[in-house]
Amino acid sequence: MPLLEARDVHGGYGGMNILNGVDMSIEADEIGVIVGPNGAGKSTMLKAIFGLLQVNQGEIRLRGEPITNLAPNKLVHMGMGFVPQENNIFPSLSVEENLEMGAYIRPSGVSRMLEQIYEFFPPLLDKRRQPAGELSGGQRQMVAMGRALMVEPSVLLLDEPTAGLSPLFMNEIFERVKKINAAGVGILMVEQHAKQALAIAHKGFVLAAGYNRFTDTGEALLNDPEVAKSFLGG
């Protein structure tokens, strides 16, 4: 049974559909990457999974259980973590308080999880008393991912975790993503840096105009001349 499965998802804001039938499926130990041109519905798909916008047709399942249009806080309880692209931290709270808020629904394991997060993101340990809003872009991203990991989710949704970061930080974030995945967390992320992201992906989904243009393993998509020509810049 796949960890996360979406079948023929239609949805959008208000009356207009942005998603016109997206299929997606990742296993428990996989990294899935969604790529595609601007306006293809990549972030919209992630928000549809996390219950942030109305799905009008189709079905989304988590470990076989239907979760279509469930409220975000219910999904958090079911083991789903979501890191939005923007406004993904509490800027006036300290780094550690940000992480604690991630574990709000499960306060018992906080100290154990804090240790684990600092192991994933060592730079955060020194900054744990600083307001998160004062950190650099890369470190903020670490805080955001750490916050979502605090409830030990089985699947983590990342919306463009490397947006606005320098290439150096981008590689660092990708390394962390691989490490988190190796620790047993399924990952579904949207990425602008398609080539680098597909290189670490088990599964890739190329979206265009709200539906799947290509769906394959990350490696196969990277080597597909047609994908390369139209979506990876040659």
Binding site: N73, V76, F82, P84, N87, N98, M101, Y104, I105
Partner: protein, 334 residues
């Protein structure tokens, strides 16, 4: 030297009292704004309501104070805080929550709170009448006269019992609020929700619960401030008319959304008010001989008359909105 005592009595003591009251009120306004993002105009009436509950309880059990050696009103304060907090949660559920769940613009809720103000004022007048009432139902108000150990000083520094209690409770409330916001899980969740409500929800924080907690704190603080002000002067059913403007000025001066800013703003506005109505001629009179002859000291040298002191917070409010709309602590712009 008696002039100095006059200054202490009329500026230092009076300013601290007014400042403390404004600070407690402004904390409430700022908490509501940071959690629910609207300016709560009914806040001053919540203070009046809290004081009225204390008055009712004191009238019902006038002997309660003498049992523990405190004014009856202070003994009744915790009960009144619970009652007012419950009313505050109820008002939110009945009037503001339906508006919020319809996703209306904040200004609609602000107008709603104006309606709540009128309603509360009407109810208070219906049950409390319109004339001022003494909060000391059964006992006398203690007045402490502190003689200063200087020969030239013949007049005492005067502090009243409710003022002393006010200072103690303000410090306790501020320390308590600080610990609550920084050390407890719910307090941190409140700050998180104020920072980023969407992310708070995505983290599984129950925002309805946080809203209720906010109203409980706001109702409790409002009762405290309203009661102590009424004990210091008298209980007036139309108290809120004189409080609303300075409280909002204090919240904005401090930076909306910052509890510590609200405290600072409260004291800035409180002291500005007392300094503006202070008769500076008293302090200058000892130097009369050294002043040039053509300069004759008038009897009253205050910036504004006491009856017009409400213009001071109004002026501060206008000035801060023109020159620094985010306030001292860089808060949000209402």
């Amino acid at each position: 030297m008696n002039e100095l005592v006059f200054f202490i009595n009329n500026v230092v003591v009076a300013g601290s009292v007014t400042g403390s009251i404004y600070a407690m009120g402004a904390i409430g306004v700022t908490l509501v704004f940071s959690i629910m993002r609207f300016a709560h105009f009914a806040h001053a009436d919540m203070m009046t309501l809290g004081a009225f509950v204390v008055l009712l309880l004191s009238l019902a059990f006038p002997g309660a104070g003498s049992v523990v050696g405190l004014p009856t009103a202070i003994v009744m304060l915790p009960i009144a805080m619970v009652v007012t907090a419950a009313v505050a949660v109820g008002i939110d559920k009945a009037f503001y929550k339906p508006l919020r769940s319809h996703g209306v613009k904040p200004i609609v809720i602000v107008i709603g709170s104006l309606g709540v103000t009128l309603m509360l004022q009407g109810l208070l007048r219906l049950f409390a009448g319109t004339s001022p009432q003494n909060m000391y139902v059964a006992e006398r108000k203690e007045i402490y006269r502190l003689e200063l150990p200087f020969e030239a000083v013949t007049r005492p520094v005067i502090v009243t019992e409710p003022q002393v209690i006010l200072f103690i409770l303000v410090v306790a409330a501020v320390v308590g609020l600080h610990l609550f916001l920084n050390k407890t899980r719910t307090g941190k969740a409140m700050r998180a929700m104020s920072d980023n409500p969407d992310l708070a929800r995505a983290s599984g924080i129950n925002t309805n619960h946080i809203v209720s907690v906010t109203w409980i704190i706001v109702g409790g603080l409002a009762t405290m401030a309203g009661t102590l002000l009424s004990m210091d002067v008298t209980f007036k059913p139309d108290l809120s008319f004189f409080l609303l403007l300075p409280i909002f000025a204090a919240a904005i001066v401090g930076g909306v959304g910052h509890p510590y800013g609200a405290i600072a703003g409260g004291f800035v506005v409180g002291f500005a008010e007392t300094l503006a109505v202070f008769n500076w001629a008293v302090l200058l009179r000892p130097f009369q001989e050294r002043l040039p002859d053509w300069l004759e000291l008038p009897n009253n040298l205050a910036f504004v008359g006491t009856e017009y002191k409400i213009v001071v917070p109004f002026f501060i409010l206008v000035a801060i909105l023109v020159w620094r709309p985010t306030g001292i602590f860089k808060g949000k712009v209402i």
